[in-house]
Symmetry: C2
Subunit: 115 residues, 2 copies
Amino acid sequence: MSNNLYDVAYDLEKALRESEDFKALKQLYDEVNADESASKMFENFRNIQLSLQQKQMMGEEITEEEVAQAQKSVQLVQQHEKISQLMAAEQRLSTVVTELNKIIMKPLEEMYGAQ
Amino acid sequence: MSNNLYDVAYDLEKALRESEDFKALKQLYDEVNADESASKMFENFRNIQLSLQQKQMMGEEITEEEVAQAQKSVQLVQQHEKISQLMAAEQRLSTVVTELNKIIMKPLEEMYGAQ
Ligand SMILES: [Ca+2]
Ligand SMILES: [Ca+2]
């Protein structure tokens, strides 16, 4: 086996790369990254989100100051048109990828589910 | 969009289902499950593995008795030809699925990696 399996995987990679959803995401991603101020705002937002998630996982307390800082960074990216478009495009791609995985994994899901 | 994207995902599902690796796994899985004694031995092994993993994640101590019980269940499945073939087939499939995912996710990996 199965050159064919990998051939089809490469076909799917190409179809994903050429999909409207991916092209829209790439376009927005490049636009935001080409804009120094937008890019810094988005990076700051991501860092704050990540730091809060890590604290929650470690069971550490989150201060009122940190909550206020996080809320402010959310508002900033929500008010920024390109960044909010980028985040929506990332969410769409994430949904697409989840759906693709569900389709591909069906043989295994059926096998283990039929026990 | 993209009917095409989902069409190709269904092609990949079909190619996975018809691959020698998946068919060999399915065959062994059905054989082990049709054998009451093999099926119970494998289930017992899985339950012990899962229980130890959960204890490790919760930071709970694992007793010498549990270690001995786990070692015994590993030996039993390793000495069982069909079960050890099934476990090897599962490992192969897992490698294939990881490789497929790497191929498909390349557009996103390149985008986020190029920052
Ligand atoms: Ca930049
Ligand atoms: Ca059974």
